[in-house]
Symmetry: C2
Subunit: 285 residues, 2 copies
């Protein structure tokens, strides 16, 4: 890892922790995203399973390795709230495959979006309990493969349909039941910027921070609420206090830019990357 | 108050605490909503300032009084986050007028939607501090007029544009700086159903609960995110645990149904009220 990292020490030192999450340049394949990172001097990449499957797992690993990039995270596992036994088993099996993929890709963590309420259910405490049980089942498997599970609290507007894990405190309450190297949390500015307890939460998280993701919160919330994630500077979030708080908590890892946004996806990916670098330097560092 | 309340003791005892928030039947004037409540055997009404202005303040008060209804709340004051001194003064003046109106209407509380970030601002701590200062300025004025300020935490998806007060705990942290009779909180299922600490929050709230509002959280979130409020049973919320928790916390007041929803507003208001009563009895009680 340190050897590969050193290949980029000659690059712009301000970009030393920057990672392009693949979703930000959604139309790029793994190969294209890897090339785009190299062109732009970005030393790390956050991968998604679907494009990795499209490119082939081993080939994706080789592309990243040969380019001298770090993988900052693999997105994503999770969706662990099914009450139906067969669905639950299928979800656990899929998460074990995701852990295997993260190990092959040398991703330090697998991001978990834990899932919402099962269709027709209103049993939120039940869904939350099933997530805890599933994490307990998956954590040793991940630990044996050197992959850390990264619990991602999602904005409460996604509680019903994406993730019943809604705050950093709640994610920490769960993560802290496991060894720190096995289960961490994701600090994603989009999801937690509004939380009045967020600074205490980041401080409490400390070494539990497995991933730090940045993007802005845009208004109005678009028809597809998933696409409210914006380029830094286009929305309402003040980023620097988050970066400083995460640093102060002891996190020295990559800073991933992950944007789901129809306008960003429609733009030229190289231009998106150039804008991302400017905004990162101006607003996050 | 107790005399008027007794006029309805002959009605359906299951509806003894039910209040129609005027927004639920948005196209009805104050007079029409009052008539609708009387026809349906609903003993209380939550009023909004705009239709009250349309009908006239004194006339609205008389309409409600003559019909033997209680006013459960007046919606709404707030929008107290402006940094500009002139805008801030205008907001405080408008809130004093709202308090006066609540007193005239014999509304026990004025609901405060505290406001989002001022245009172009990303200073969330600053906006929150200005809300606290404004509440401190308004609370004595309200207390002298027998009106309680009801701080409403709004769903975090409205943090940027409607209310920087995002959780019940945060609302209580502020409310508890004032005498319990001067400043309370609103428990609205739509805004807080996702919160993993909500049961502790309701228990902590106790006599601070100034208003209990129910409506469902519908998916998908519509293009106008304000209209995601749904008829009980149409969304993801389990209501009875909230009603029981609020009761256990010592709240014995009205239960307001407040729905912002394009389909509900397009339907015949009398049918909406009939559905509301059925769902209230089946799902809330």
């Amino acid at each position: 890892m340190s050897e590969r990292k050193n290949q980029h020490s000659a690059g712009d030192p301000r970009l030393a922790r920057l990672s392009l999450n693949q979703k930000t340049t959604n139309r790029w394949s793994v190969a294209e995203a890897v090339d785009g990172c190299v062109r732009a001097g970005i030393p790390a990449i956050g991968l998604w399973r679907e494009p990795v499957h499209d490119a082939g797992l081993e080939r994706s690993a080789k592309l990243v390795r040969d380019a001298g990039l770090r993988v900052s995270s693999l997105c994503r596992g999770g969706f662990l709230t099914a009450a139906d036994p067969a669905e639950r088993q299928a979800a656990l099996d899929d998460n074990r495959r995701a852990i295997d993929e993260a190990a092959t890709l040398e991703a330090p963590c697998l991001v978990l979006v834990v899932g919402g309420l099962p269709a027709g259910s209103r049993d939120l405490p039940g869904a939350r309990a099933r997530v805890a049980d599933a994490v307990a089942e998956l954590a040793p498997y991940a630990g044996e493969r050197g992959v850390r599970l990264a619990l991602e609290p999602l904005h409460p507007m996604y509680c019903a349909d994406r993730a019943v894990l809604s705050t950093l405190s709640q994610a920490l309450d769960l993560a802290e039941q496991f060894p720190v190297d096995l289960v961490g949390v994701v600090v994603d500015t989009f999801h937690i910027w509004w939380d009045p307890t967020v600074w205490a939460g980041i401080s409490r998280a400390g070494r539990r921070i497995a991933s730090f993701q940045v993007c802005d919160f845009n208004l109005p919330i678009p028809a597809d609420a998933l696409l409210a994630r914006g380029m830094m500077g286009d929305g309402v979030i003040e980023f620097r206090p988050f970066r400083v708080a995460v640093d102060d908590a002891g996190y020295a890892g990559d800073i991933e830019v992950e944007i789901f946004n129809a306008d960003v996806w429609a733009a030229d990916p190289d231009e998106v990357v150039a804008t991302m670098i400017r905004r990162y330097v101006d607003l996050v560092l």
